[in-house]
Subunit: 287 residues, 2 copies
Amino acid sequence: MSISANPSTTVTSKVHDSIEEVALLDSVNDDHDDVIVEMKDPMDSAAFLTLLRKSLTTWRMQGKKSIWIKLHIKLANLIEAAVKEGFWYHHAEPNYLMLVRWLLDTEHTIPANASHRVRVGAFVMNEKREILVVQEKNGILRGMWKFPTGVIEQGEDIHVGAMREIKEETGIDTEFVEILAFRQSHNAFFEKSDFFFMCMLRPLSRDICIQELEIEAAQWMPVEEYAAQPSVQNNDLFKYILDVSLARVDKLYAGLSPVHTRSVFSDTKDCFYLNSSDLNWPSRIGN
Amino acid sequence: MSISANPSTTVTSKVHDSIEEVALLDSVNDDHDDVIVEMKDPMDSAAFLTLLRKSLTTWRMQGKKSIWIKLHIKLANLIEAAVKEGFWYHHAEPNYLMLVRWLLDTEHTIPANASHRVRVGAFVMNEKREILVVQEKNGILRGMWKFPTGVIEQGEDIHVGAMREIKEETGIDTEFVEILAFRQSHNAFFEKSDFFFMCMLRPLSRDICIQELEIEAAQWMPVEEYAAQPSVQNNDLFKYILDVSLARVDKLYAGLSPVHTRSVFSDTKDCFYLNSSDLNWPSRIGN
């Protein structure tokens, strides 16, 4: 959501047929008749409620559609007042809660909340057909030799996150090749879903240096030795992942690789992942 | 996060060297030394704070790792107390806020919040090389003839969501073929990201019946007419999408199609999307 106007604390508005200066909550307006209030400084909840009510009256007269209030966690005392004024929760991150209210009589067009977490796994094979594997210190796969995996950070492209995770966990530099396949899982944590993008990357270095906090051990392992593990043989997902990885190395299997496109949401570039092999296009993003 | 034990309100615990019955918050324990408290009924915030403190003491003695509190929006009055006791926000949905606290001295291993919204677009072409296009009533693409698009619902597979959206917007029944490509965008709404999966589907019916709330008009349009629109010609994403769609129809372009795998998170099935053409596998999911 882009923000186009400057904050303001007062507006001249017509209330009860008289022109008066009304104190309002600090806010910015974006391009879509939305109002965004970001609260960071402590405020008494009664004072907040008074300001909020006056502000809502003004915003309604101005024809605003949706009102967003971002409350820092230090301002948890103000949530109840906002809820009483018809706000509901949109999303939350560790240090803030975003509330929203729709001011029109029509059905709201407020964007859906994020529903998926994004993780990556990495198939990295060297010229001796050894693959890069790790053992994790924690988690349900502890003790198994597995591909490096990790969570994509906020605002991070999949191919960038894959290279970063490999570097962090093993110290190996890589060049991104393709997304080979991906898995969608539901109810991964509470009611939220999970994407796991299986990526192939080319190693650019050889010496392993593990991240000791999460990783117990890492090594270059002959792919046959990896494949022979019961934990791989008894898991249909791990077998599929190995099948597509080896098909990419030994056959004509093609995955999806990134090209940049202009973003519709911001000034940054988006990544469009497509089967560039089948279109005879080279990947257009440098690594 | 699976839940394996029954709720309980009291435990017998050793506090101050005496055995006493302590009233605790209703909670369930999952398989991983986590405690999940779900609050639905009104409670005074002072009473909640007292119960929460006693409960935290007990859970710490029991060696619990993480404590989750799910507060219905009607219980916004309790958030401040939880924050004062060291809880932070994990995620929120319209009618609840999930708070979490880590009880150990180690770095926490709490799962990352959802970061991406998931949308789909649909390329549906009939035997006359006409494609299914719609005009939306609202939004930045109003007035343009475009592919049907929509947001994936909570817990919905991509291929299921694509068929549902086409049916809802246009009344057309379809059979899912492949994900042709996808786009990742950042800062799509506030700091959250957006996936847009471009799908190909085969039409199984012909008569259009539009959903009047969101859709102004829908039609079967010759693909050349769609391609000639300035809004397509001037947008590199729309051109890429058209290129891969036509390459899928006219050339050997292969996208990703779903197979089912056993879920690691729940008793349901996951979907693994892979290039089954290149593996010479038929798609293994019925439509």
